[in-house]
Amino acid sequence: MAGGAWRFGPWVWLVVVAVRPLGAAPTTLTVPDLRLVVAAQEGDVRQVRLLIAARVEVNTPRPDGTTPLMWAAHRDDLEMANVLLEAGAKVDPTDEQGVGPLALAAENGSLTLVNRLLSAGADARRAQANGVTPLMIAARVGSLPVVKALLAAGADPSAAIPSTGQTALMWATAERHREVVLALLAGGANVRAASAIGFTPLLFAARNGDLDTAAVLVEAGADVNQSGNDGTHALPLAIVSGHQAVAKYLIERGANVNGTMHGVSALHAAAGKVDLWIRDWLRARRASVDARSTAGLPANERVELTKLLLARGAPVNARTAVSTFVGLGISGRNGARDPISTHVGDLKGATPLWVAAYWANGAGPDAAAAVEIMRVLLAAGADHSATTADGTTPLMAAAGLGHGSYQPGADRGARSVSAEAAVAALVEAGADVNAVNEARFTALHGAAFRGLNEVIEYLVQHGASLNAQDFRGRTAFRIAQGAQQGFRVQPWPSTAALIEKLGADTTIGVDGLTDERERARALGPARSRP
């Protein structure tokens, strides 16, 4: 019985199992003997040998289809693999997902095991149920010897995964394995393949800023102007990803400076961060809705690239092509009238000047660079009156529309020297200080929302109408008293005092804070924030 027998170790088990005790009822169903596959999973070579010697079936899989040989491959255990193969293990079994020993050996980048399996007849072309091949896995892992071995054994370098359209070459490029890229190209991989969403191998290299690999791909015939299936062009992609060297290389090799990415041109991308305009592009690639791209190009590179693009004929007044709203996809129905919209609506149709003006309203080297870019663009003929679809002009964006502020307890907004310079540049170029957008906001309202006293003074000096009212009837003074921005209400007492001093009519409308509170009350207690 079990109580005493297992003192003696595995041998007795074999006896007990193989020889049925007298009187036991005969079983009608055969239970598969999983001891070998369990021993293989645990890496117990000694036990595996014992079981094979006892004639246990060497190909018996676990209920999910994994075989002992697969475990040997997964553990990179050559000794066990040899033992199993010599005992007759099938070399190409697959589990219920179609994964087999060769794929597992490729994931480890194990040349010894891959060679052993290939020499035993493993099929280098066999794909899993989802279309992944061992070559793709080896390409992703970056194991050059394994990739070469698989190619030599007939693996198809251009095989693609049906659902995503991605290939081994794309995987190698994405993971920056340059030597593997070379080997795949030498093996005949299709350098112009495109994925289902839209990337080509070159687009991966552009995204990575991997100049060496990009050059390899272009030399092998990649077309610098081949867009992905969704029209993403390599040049704006490289710029958005923050890689100046690759962008310059692409230009040198004839990239079309008109190329766009989700309706955003290279010049837009150089002028400033374009996250707002590529939000749906990001979401289509599973980025979460609050994802932000990295800082991108440093300030001086932005300026340099802008000049370069203009010199190559990039259209200075290109307009973005896709609707987009500030407000994380929550607002949109009411455009600039929506309380959490930060007072702008659909920003489709922004020009590079608009983008630069937007970022000029800030602090630090990026905002300063934005001002310089604006000057360059204006000198090249940028149209200061070109608005976004909601009617917002670059001047309004530079003054503060589209940006939210929340600094509880602060007297006024943090000063933005770049915003002042940007506003001045636009006004000197002839921008209309009294233009209104779809919600009747003016540049002065924008500066009041941001508490930018210096910008307010400048605008007023240059003819801004001090008492202009927005769609709710608020003047700049009321806004400075207190206005909702995004989800919160922000008062700027010092700004309000300045506007009053400049001569605003302080009797128009209702006190800003009172107004907001009344609105909140009108909407009901549970929904004090609309």
Binding site: R7, P63, T66, D95, Q97, N130, R140, S288, S293
Partner: protein, 815 residues
């Protein structure tokens, strides 16, 4: 039968074991006589403070006879310990050079060793700790129980098997009785079992984009794997719930179609398809879709409830089975995105319909339409016989209960034991038949003090304070609770009952067998987690804004790396010093990403060579660096203290009350490095006394941030890792500390020995254990300081093999 055992064991002993030296050899390895300790050292460097008038720290050495180790043992052991670790003389006071100090310490130790009256110490009666209880139930009844049946053990005293901490309170006893009832019913299969519902949650902050482990099928990612005890044959319902977004409670990643697999013991139970309908903007997310927007309402409802369909009901046979849920790799892809700012898993649950989905939990409900089955592993363990049709059941019951009780109580079962159990059996039999009777008696076994308590008896006639060998059965228990964290198995019990276990050859053979056994892994994992405080990593929560990449997968991988390194060191029988200088480690994809080692894919751990000299050995592990940091920054003091505690054996005293917090870097002001902010430790003499020992150790590791990643600057300031140790030597960086520790083998080596001895024996070490530690040190020095020699030396030491008799008043026993 018995002779066969003896023959088999002897044959095994002869064949299986390399030649070990016995206890007698260890005694012969004592050092040759040295000169008397030099009194002038004490007079010159110590008596200035430790004199009769000042009595600094309550100690005077002025008129102490340092050659009289017999009378002054405790004080002299303390003196030796302090001067070896360099804590005394304090920093800034004159001290002798290293060679002189060592010679003086050696001379003192020689005296102490010679005068040493063997005192094996005494372990008080104590209960099993939780780990031991769970393992014992598993080994006795082939049953996995949920550790949450019992409260966690107090973490106060060094190791959680310390006898002083393992007391029984009435509240705890009542938990044991409840647990015994549940376990009994689970083991036998209770026909009255009501339908129950168990929920297993996946961690919210583990990435579910890769395959999580070998329990899950290839070609899948994410999800969870649990071992669930199905109490009876019957129908069970499995319900899967997907992870939600923070805003609006909608399902993550529901925009795309996904396939979820549920498996029991690797058999596919069901493939579910979920997601991918009604794409687009969700009007109901924040505001609520207007009543006339039927399309929007349908979309929003789908986003909230799409996983209601993820349930299935199937028949399952009783037993502990592996249940897994995971996503099929339907569309494996490299991401085609622009580079994104890293965002912590704790932050990015905002609203993520387009992101990657996750399994939140699986609920297992049942049994419905249950049947008690004849055949589960637990029932096979229990029912070693069945009452025949015409015989009375009681002889079989006796046999069953005797078998169970013998293993549970770790000794032969007496008639009194059986009488108690049979009484309960008869009560149960009257009410419910044979199995009910067995069940009641089994419960009694599980809450019996003979099972729960580890009690050792002094021999009849032993003089109080005398030393005696523990009995073979007590030794078997000590061995199995040390190496297997559980009760002895059949072979060990049989050898002990035959009173053979204490024989050196037999003992070595059994130890070898126990280490080779699969269960021999348990002490390694348990010891390394406690000794190196690695288990603190599992509760560490680095600030998600400062360390956005930190998640649960990384946390688990870090801890596992250190466990695997330690295991490999022991299994490969390396020198204990190799732990510090191992040029290899174990990584999986997640950990390799953290260390920036390229080319490692997959969740399984594989051995890699470490070429970076800054990462060599244990001190290069992220686990060690993370366990000794705060959530928002590194801590020089914690790291220094960690090294002093775990590797040097010179723990600093606790800080005084009212120490003000460290000045943090303020926003806007120019950032300063941690080091410069800690200058006050050096400037204030009271602080310097202890911090002179801790801070230099911590500074050396400042290049590792609070999650163990390498960095070259701290808040923009360059990092300076050069420091001066308390004994005047200088070190620079992790490699410097490593060299420092390796050159002070007496400190590190003795600390390892002390920690292992403390762990094996289950009590804190006292001054009279110091000679034992030194004896072990000499013994392992002759054999390359290998782990196998150390383990054997600990087992063959007096504290393990022997016991000091108490003052009387406790029950005594025959040997």
């Amino acid at each position: 039968m018995r002779r066969a055992h003896i023959i088999v064991s002897s044959v095994v002993a002869l064949l299986a074991v390399p030649a070990f030296r016995g206890i007698a050899d260890a005694a012969q390895a004592a050092p040759p006589a040295t000169a008397a300790p030099d009194r002038t050292i004490i007079d010159r460097y110590c008596v200035a403070c430790h004199n009769d008038r000042l009595k600094t720290a309550g100690l005077t050495l002025e008129s102490l006879d340092i050659a009289d180790a017999q009378a002054n043992g405790p004080v002299l052991e303390k003196v030796v310990s302090k001067i070896r670790s360099g804590q005394m003389p304090p920093m800034g006071r004159p001290r002798s050079d290293l060679a002189t100090t060592r010679a003086f310490a050696a001379a003192l130790e020689d005296r102490l060793d010679r005068a040493h009256a063997p005192n094996p110490g005494r372990i008080v009666a104590h209960r099993l700790n939780r780990v031991e209880y769970v393992n014992a139930v598993r080994d006795l009844l082939a049953l996995e129980i949920d550790p949450a049946l019992l409260p966690t053990d107090a973490a106060g005293i060094n190791f959680d098997n310390n006898a002083e901490g393992l007391t029984i309170t009435p509240a705890l006893m009542s938990r044991y009785m409840t647990a015994a009832g549940k376990i009994g019913r689970l083991a036998l299969g209770d026909p009255e079992q009501k339908t129950a519902s168990t929920v297993y949650r996946a961690s919210d902050f583990a990435r579910q984009t890769a395959r999580l482990g070998d329990d899950l099928p290839f070609g899948t990612h994410g999800g969870l794997a649990v071992r669930h005890a199905f109490p009876l044959d019957g129908q069970y319902a499995f319900k899967v719930r997907l992870q939600r977004n923070t805003i609006g409670d909608t399902i993550r990643g529901i925009d795309d179609e996904h396939e979820v697999q549920v498996r029991v013991d690797h058999v596919l139970v069901e493939r579910f398809t979920v997601g991918g309908q009604y794409k687009g903007f969700d009007p109901g997310l924040v505001n609520g879709a207007p009543d006339d927007d039927l399309e929007g309402k349908r979309l929003h409802t789908y986003r909230l409830t799409a996983d209601d369909a993820l349930q299935v009901r199937i028949p399952v046979k009783a037993g502990t089975r592996l249940v897994t849920v995971s996503f099929s790799d339907s569309a494996p892809a490299v991401t085609e995105n622009v580079p994104l700012m890293p965002s912590s898993a704790k932050r990015s649950f905002f609203t993520d319909d387009a992101g990657d989905p996750g399994i939140e939990r699986i609920t297992i409900e049942g049994p419905y339409q249950a049947l008690v089955t004849e055949d589960t592993p637990s029932r096979r363990h229990i029912f070693v016989c069945r009452p025949g049709p015409r015989q009375t059941a009681e002889p079989c019951a006796r046999r069953i209960l005797r078998t169970l009780a013998r293993r549970a109580y770790r000794r032969p079962v007496t008639e009194e034991d059986l009488a108690e159990l049979l009484q309960l059996y008869r009560t149960g039999y009257r009410h419910g038949g044979f199995e009910a009777g067995i069940g009641l008696a089994l419960e009694a076994i599980l809450w019996s003090p003979a099972f729960l308590m580890r009690m050792e008896r002094d021999p009849i006639g032993a003089a109080p304070g005398s030393s005696h060998r523990v009995s073979d059965l007590e030794l078997a228990a000590r061995l199995s609770f040390f190496l297997w964290k559980s009760v002895p198995d059949e072979q060990l019990l049989t050898v002990a009952e035959a009173r053979r276990l204490h024989e050196p050859g037999v003992l070595k053979a059994q130890v070898r067998r126990m280490l080779d056994d699969r269960k021999g892994r348990r002490w390694m994992v348990d010891f390394v987690n406690q000794w190196l405080t690695i288990r603190n990593v599992r509760s560490q929560e680095p600030d998600p804004d400062l360390f956005p990449e930190f998640d649960d997968s990384l946390r688990d991988a870090m801890a596992r790396e250190t466990e695997l390194l330690f295991e490999s060191q022991v299994r490969e029988d390396r020198s204990i010093f190799d732990l510090l200088r191992a040029d290899y480690t174990f990584v999986n994809a997640r950990l390799a990403e953290h260390y920036r080692i390229p080319g490692v894919y997959g969740s399984h751990f594989r051995r890699v060579t470490v070429t970076d000299p800054r990462r060599v050995g244990l001190l290069g592990h992220a686990s060690v660096q993370t366990a000794s940091s705060y959530a928002h920054r590194t801590s020089v003091v914690l790291r220094g203290k960690w090294i002093l505690d775990t590797l040097v054996g010179a723990p600093p005293p606790p800080p005084p009350a009212n120490v003000p917090p460290l000045r943090e870097n303020e926003r806007g002001a120019s950032a300063t490095s941690l080091r410069s902010r800690m200058e006050q430790h050096r400037q204030n003499a009271v602080c310097a006394n202890c911090h002179a020992a801790m801070d230099p150790l911590g500074f050396a590791f400042e290049n590792f941030d609070a999650t163990g990643r390498w960095r070259d600057t701290d808040s923009g300031a360059a990092i300076d890792t050069k420091s001066t140790m308390v004994d005047g030597s200088t070190v620079d960086g992790p490699a410097g500390i490593r060299e420092y520790l390796l050159n002070r083998s007496d400190q590190y080596g003795r600390t390892v020995i002390r920690k292992l001895l403390e762990y094996a024996v289950g009590r804190e070490l006292e001054y009279y254990d110091a000679p034992v530690v030194r004896q072990i040190e000499r013994r392992i020095a002759a054999d390359g300081q290998r782990w196998s020699t150390l383990v054997m030396a600990v087992i063959e030491s007096d504290p393990f093999l022997r016991r000091r008799a108490g003052e009387g008043g406790e029950p005594r026993a025959e040997r």
